[in-house]
């Protein structure tokens, strides 16, 4: 279905750039919704899943700040989500000797077991939604989006 129909527009979109931007935002919203539906079955939110998934594949030691950079959210958000995950016993904050300002964050055994259960379902989802895109199409999509992101951050960044 075209974006016009989906958004129930009463006139055609005349600006293709505008349509492109709305498409991106709308698609991301739907992807999040689909993700949330899956994660809820495991008593997780999307943000909580993202933390577990990141931690599973990290190869070095991460502070909360590192996690925030990886997930592209503020430190305050990390604190909040980590509090939830810690209270569920899925994640641990480790004191770091030599630097009393930071914590190192890691999965607990329960956290690892849970993410190992969710991940295959998540990957199924991914391939379900992108099934109709062959490799060159994916590459083109990725490249276009990368260009958009470049123009999102002010030149001074």
């Amino acid at each position: 279905m075209s974006l016009e129909q989906e958004l129930k527009l009463e006139r055609p979109m005349d600006d293709i750039h505008h349509e492109a931007v709305l498409s991106i935002v709308r698609t991301a919203g739907l992807l999040s919704l689909k993700g949330a539906t899956l994660f809820r079955q495991f008593d997780l939110t999307e943000a909580q899943f993202n933390v577990l998934f990141s931690l599973k594949y990290k190869e070095t030691v991460w502070t909360q700040s590192d996690l925030g950079k990886r997930l592209v959210v503020t430190r305050a958000s990390v604190t909040s989500v980590l509090d939830k995950l810690e209270s569920k016993g899925l994640v641990e904050r480790h004191v770091v000797e030599g630097n009393r300002r930071i914590y190192h964050v890691d999965l607990t055994k329960a956290g690892r077991e849970l993410i190992d259960k969710v991940e295959p379902r998540y990957r199924e989802n991914i391939h379900e939604v992108t099934a109709s895109l062959d490799r060159p199409t994916c590459e083109a999509l990725i490249q276009s989006l990368e260009r958009v992101r470049q123009n999102c951050t002010r030149p001074a960044d």
Copy 2:
């Protein structure tokens, strides 16, 4: 910058479909952030701008439910944002005779004046972020995203 670098991944993404999905979500997040920064200058949030913008271009009479469909949010969300906009005097709820269940929503004079001020800046933003995409590239992008959205909603929908 590639997604790998942006997300500070410690190993390359091996799954191009996964990379595509993350690109979409990440790009939408950045677009929202850029939008929020603009809207804040006018004491608006993104959600509030979306309502004003929709109302400006509607050509028929809309209920809150219609607005929700257009913006793809629940009725509860519409109620909440509309309360804020109404308290700022930017939007009005009109009683509908013949149907006491619904309201018709419209811009006030102040609402129209404000959206008229914000819109040119918004359109500048749009073209800034998509400047490097020519028309065929935009069309391909839009089409790919449309395919993803198709696969987001279960076949039964």
